[in-house]
């Protein structure tokens, strides 16, 4: 399953509205997206609907994805995250929500934008590659696996203070690497 080229499938949707490609992406990502939504605090019914909505957004936004960048899962993750934040907001039924920010102008990106995206992508790839395993792990555990620092401390068998300082150093180093013009 990991050998599937998800970026290629998204491109197939963009270029020829390929429903078989959509189906393959759905089977891979939708159950994971449902788990992700549950972890972000959605109810089971919401998680189901948000997994659906995310996949429909992938269909609609496929032309905005640049397969040369790779990172299909990061792209889908960011769509899911934004939909989750919007849905939490809609649930409140407060205030006037006139526009869905995800419906902002969606002209296909121009050459200049594509060049910038590729630069950013290269920067991100290099920076993440330069972080140590320990640094990546503490960021992943803190922010995505949603573990308390005390839990990370137990899991890694490190004092609590070390976990906190490791996270601080890892984030500082990541920003430094990303901003360092090479």
């Amino acid at each position: 399953m990991q050998t599937q080229d998800h970026g290629g499938l998204i491109a197939a949707i963009a270029t020829r509205q390929d429903r078989a490609a959509f189906q393959a992406l759905f089977l891979h990502f939708a159950p994971r997206l449902k788990s992700l939504m549950l972890r972000m605090g959605a109810s089971p019914a919401q998680a189901e609907e948000l997994a659906q909505e995310t996949m429909l957004a992938v269909w609609r936004k496929a032309h905005l994805f640049d397969p040369a960048l790779g990172g299909a899962s990061a792209w889908i993750f960011s769509i899911a995250r934004n939909l989750r934040v919007d849905s939490a907001r809609r649930d409140q039924r407060l205030g006037a929500m006139q526009l869905d920010p995800s419906d902002a102008p969606e002209a296909p990106p121009g050459p200049e934008h594509i060049a910038l995206e590729r630069q950013l992508n290269e920067r991100v790839r290099k920076a993440l590659a330069a972080l140590s395993q320990e640094q990546l792990q503490v960021i992943m555990m803190s922010f995505f696996e949603d573990r308390a620092h005390s839990e990370i401390s137990d899991h890694l068998d490190l004092p609590l203070g070390t976990v906190k300082s490791r996270l601080r150093l890892a984030m500082r180093r990541l920003r430094h690497l990303l901003d360092d013009v090479t």
Partner: protein, 213 residues
Amino acid sequence: MSIVHHPSNQTLGDFANGTLDAGRHVVVSAHIEMCTSCQRMVAALDRLGGAHLEQLPGTPLATGALEKALSRLGDLPPATPAAPRLESELPVRLAALAPYALGRWRWIGWGVHTRTASVPEPGGTRVFLLKAAPGTRLPYHTHTSTELTLILQGAFTHAGGRFGVGDLDDADDTVLHQPVVEPGADCICLVALRGQLRLPGWLGQLLQPFVRL
């Protein structure tokens, strides 16, 4: 880029993992629009989020979920371009604020005006614009919870440093500060405030009812 104050690691991490409340999400999104460095951080965190998504064990969807999705592909509404917000009173055009209605500027005292943004408030977080005249010395205050302040125009200084355009002041309840607005232009900020400001002293007692908004 002259931006030196960014969201705390926790705030940025919560932005990336989708658990920031709506009000704070708006203000952090606005900062990210203005801050190349944070755009890169979020792009990197999204990569890790994508890796996390790949590692997650799936939760089975309801029977017929795929068929349902396939049947919805045909009748998806076309993406409607957002009408650009012609917001002459805002010094920076922000996509993050585009969906929300803004109230009128209201005078709350001592050269300070506020203007609410109609962001729904799941966590009791209020979003508003704050405008303070040059030289204004805002009252000392602490927070019962947290405050995010993004500077859109002008600058202020307090014990935590100088905050200019694009800087985000990510303050929590341990901070007691008295911002002083720099001479020159009005200082206009976008604020997400969770909980109440606590203003000590007689001035605070006087101002508190106004600041409660």
